[in-house]
């Protein structure tokens, strides 16, 4: 399959020139093409924010929902039609801030979806307020004295929640990004991909250069199957490790649902038997 299949041609893209989002868009296209998933089986679900505009620039199905609420519809979609490849993506503010409760409980639920978070450590669309991942001391028009909330560490929390796949990558390395995205989509179960992404307009601290200086690749000897060591790895924030941090093989949400125990077909092809309902009515 070719990447161009997902191209929407000459369209106006609402991102700033130089924004890391472009690299994510390209990586996503490449990976979808590589994986050769039929277009009609790919659904993107996003929230609201700059990151959340990504599906608008792809030839795929999408559900562009509310700020912070990408994961619940993604879970709904996947459970109704498990044949679909469902990718929930949004920004750090959306997923970890407004959507924090869904982030937690979706990981517990473990639907077979991919969760891409464009982590630019700032609120882009609303023009530069702190996000949950903003560094301590980060100055913004609201945080006039600098951020005083401990930065949210999505990887550590995902490991604490026993997420079935936890990874980090970085827009500065498209190859790595593709590799990780591919593994995440192929992984059976919930897969978090936190992507460090520079926001050239509002984050003058965590720039492309800064990220290059403050990241490193986990080496090939690293074993992502151990939860405690994954946690220690995830805690590293002076230099962010890039790669698959944690992985396990928990059963997925859908496969444990009663409706799929006997019948693997999508739920939407079935109808209730009205005669059985009539009987139910008189049952007591």
């Amino acid at each position: 399959m070719t990447k161009s299949l997902f191209d929407r041609g000459k369209i106006d893209i609402a991102w700033c020139p130089g924004c890391g989002n472009y690299a994510i868009l390209e990586a996503v296209k490449s990976v979808l093409a590589d994986l050769a998933i039929p277009q009609k089986h790919i659904v993107f679900v996003s929230g609201i924010g700059q990151a959340a505009k990504l599906p608008q620039y792809l030839k795929v199905h999408y559900f562009n929902g509310l700020h912070g609420r990408a994961l619940p519809p993604a879970t709904g979609i996947k459970s109704v039609n498990p044949k679909l490849t469902v990718i929930a993506e949004s920004g750090d503010g959306d997923m970890y801030g407004e959507g924090g409760n869904h982030f937690i409980h979706c990981i517990r639920r473990n639907p077979d979806i991919t969760n891409i978070v464009h982590n630019n450590m700032v609120y882009g669309l609303t023009k530069g307020q702190a996000s949950p991942t903003s560094s301590l001391g980060f100055h913004t028009p609201i945080q006039v004295n600098g951020v005083i909330l401990e930065p949210f560490n999505p990887l550590a929390i995902a490991v604490a929640l026993d997420a079935s796949f936890v990874a980090r990558t970085f827009t500065g390395d498209p190859t790595h990004m593709q590799k990780i995205l591919k593994l995440a989509i192929q992984h059976k179960g919930y897969a978090l991909v936190d992507i460090l992404q520079p926001c050239v307009s509002f984050n003058k601290i965590n720039t492309l250069h800064w990220f290059k200086e403050h990241t490193y690749y986990v080496d090939s000897s690293y074993n992502p199957r151990n939860r405690s060591s994954a946690f220690s790895k995830a805690l590293e924030m002076d230099h962010f490790p890039l790669g698959v941090i944690f992985q396990n093989n928990r059963p997925t949400f859908e496969e444990q649902l009663l409706v799929y125990k006997k019948n693997k077909n999508s739920l939407i092809t079935r109808q209730h038997d009205i005669k059985k309902l009539q009987e139910l009515l008189l049952e007591n």
């Binding site: 089986h41 609201i48 999408y62 562009n64 929902g65 993604a74 979609i77 409760n101 079935r270 007591n284």
Partner: protein, 574 residues
């Protein structure tokens, strides 16, 4: 207390009163089912506190030979199981009330009229204190003159899934109770009432919760995600129980926001989906309601009202969320609100809700309340096999546009994976393809597209139910759960000039509502709230201001007698 003279509702009313955890519910189901299986018409409703043990709760069971479907104040037989029971029911007890009490449990009471029933003692002699309730059932069935055979075979089948020892225990308990009951001398008024109760053919026994749940399945519901909240949880529970037998996903979400957004995702993927919630939980879903409006994504929202504001009275009843539901969601988009009054409407309108949601791609509400969902009654069985579904999902083609503009405002709806087209739905204002747009003309067109659906929706409005003589001059107007109460009260009035208008669809209103209102000289709105929300809605929609309201907002349902006496006072000055 309001004056109740003149209204003496039919049948026998048995009230069981005791603490939470004392097993009143078991007596309720045993006795109601037994009466139902015997062929009596039966009604039962409960009022209970927001706690798991202790406090004081009560259940009313009415039994009659013709349909009974409403709560009454009068108590013919009171079974008092806890010390607080007497005080709790004090204002409902009259000299004609026969009071049975296990004095061992409730303590000595200086009242000769109280008949001691040694439930605990008998239970202990039978073998276990747990079966005290079954003893009570035995006593009451003897008093109701249900043949012992019937009682025994019913108790047998009721416990049939339990161990043999449990069955045996209950059989001896009920038998012992029966013997006691037979010996009780009933006061003449109760004997008279009982004598008129005859056997009926096979009936249907349902409460509101079950009606909504069956209606949902009949409407093709295959997905429900919700968060527990009294009194709405029953629908989620019932559907979960039924998920062994019907293909439905029932998911307890982490919160109400997740619930509605999951349901919208499920709907997008092609399922017929719903949520069930109550005031505070619904408040959290309001952004999601607006999303449904924008995405044009079908979804059914069951809101079982309870008294607010905030946590209010979690287990009690009220009708004070009508306006919240009517105006929920930022921005402007169409909706439909059904307010079933009968269990049959509960089935039919929930079924219709799914079809309307799908046909018009809108959120549809089924608005009930605690009294409705928790009240059971028996009625003539209905044939629901005629309730068919229309499916509107279309197979997409390459050029598919989710929001194609056309005359009706209803764009063909595709779902992902079915067809070659791409299905893009968008919370931002969008163009026909579902892509974000800020074009001012497209914006206006999309607003108009969404709103013009209301025109067709209005044509499908459910007409109000009118009960009475064609030329009645007074109309008692009600909505939702109060219909049976109002009906019985108006029957009591026995006045040809008084009719009833019940709306089981409150928005948009059927044009007949206005017609009825214009013909009368006096209108009276009956509402379980403090400000008359439906009166305001009627005014908004018809321009007619109904003069009078009968309101109640103490957390309890109206009783037949209250409505009767308030109507009496209004109409005849006392």
């Amino acid at each position: 207390m309001t004056k109740k003279g003149g209204c003496d509702p039919k049948g026998v009313s048995i009230v069981l009163c005791g603490a939470a955890g004392q097993g009143i519910q078991t007596v309720e189901s045993l006795l109601a089912l037994l009466a139902y299986h015997t062929g009596f018409f039966v009604f039962s409703t409960k009022e209970y506190m927001s706690r798991v043990r202790g406090g004081v709760n009560s259940t009313e069971i009415r039994i009659a030979s013709s349909p009974v479907k409403a709560y009454i104040d009068r108590i013919d037989i009171l079974v008092a199981l806890s010390p607080e029971s007497i005080l709790h029911t004090y204002h409902r007890v009259s000299k004609n009330t026969m009071i049975l009490a296990d004095t061992e449990a409730i303590g000595k009471i200086k009242d000769d009229s109280i008949v001691d029933i040694p439930l605990q003692k008998v239970a202990k002699t039978v073998g276990s204190p747990v079966v005290a309730n079954t003893v009570a059932v035995g006593i009451l069935s003897a008093m109701l003159k249900i043949p012992l055979d019937t009682v025994l075979s019913f108790v047998h089948s009721f416990f049939s899934k339990k161990k043999q020892t449990v069955v045996d225990l209950n059989i001896s308990a009920v038998t012992k109770g029966y013997t006691i009951g037979k010996k009780l001398s009933l006061p003449p008024n109760i004997i008279e009432k009982l004598s008129s109760i005859g056997n009926q053919k096979k009936l249907m026994l349902l409460n509101g919760t079950r009606a909504i749940s069956i209606g949902a399945l009949t409407g093709g519901c295959s997905f429900i995600s919700s968060y527990p909240m009294s009194p709405s949880t029953g629908v989620l529970t019932t559907l979960s129980q039924l998920s062994h037998r019907f293909d439905i996903i029932t998911e307890q979400a982490e919160d109400e926001i997740a619930a509605i957004n999951m349901a919208l995702g499920a709907s997008y993927a092609g399922a017929r989906s719903m949520v069930t919630t109550s005031g505070g939980g619904f408040a959290l879903m309001i952004e999601g309601v607006s999303l449904a409006g924008m995405l044009e994504q079908p979804v059914v929202i069951h809101v079982a009202q309870r008294p607010g504001p905030a946590t209010g009275l979690p287990t009690r009843t009220e009708q004070a969320d009508l306006e919240l539901v009517l105006y929920a969601g930022h921005g402007e988009f169409p909706r439909v609100i059904y307010t079933p009054g009968t269990v049959l409407e509960g089935i039919q309108l929930t079924h219709k809700a799914f079809n309307m949601a799908d046909a018009y791609q809108i959120p549809v509400f089924v608005l009930t309340d605690q009294y409705f969902v928790d009240s059971y009654y028996s009625s003539e069985p209905v044939d629901i096999t005629t309730l068919s579904n229309e499916y509107y999902v279309e197979t997409t083609t390459k050029r598919y546009n989710r929001y194609a503009l056309n005359k009706s405002g209803i764009s063909p709806r595709g779902i992902p994976g079915q067809g070659t087209g791409l299905v893009a739905v968008d919370s931002d204002e969008h163009d026909e393809t579902g892509r974000i747009t800020e074009d001012v003309h497209m914006r206006s067109q999309m607003v108009e597209k969404r709103l013009k659906k209301l025109k067709e929706i209005k044509k499908e409005a459910v007409p109000p139910t009118f009960i009475g003589k064609k030329n009645c001059s007074t109309l008692v107007i009600c909505w939702g759960s109060t219909i049976h109460i109002v009906n019985e009260a108006v029957e009591c009035l026995d006045d040809d000039t008084v009719g009833i208008l019940h709306c089981s669809q409150v928005y948009p209103l059927h044009p007949d509502v206005k017609k009825y209102l214009s013909k009368i000289s006096l209108g009276i709105c009956v509402e379980n709230n403090a400000t008359g929300q439906f009166q305001r809605l009627l005014f908004r929609e018809t321009g007619i201001m109904v003069e009078h309201k009968i309101l109640q907002y103490n957390g309890l349902p109206f009783s037949v007698e209250t409505i009767y006496s308030q109507l009496h006072q209004l109409l005849r000055g006392g």
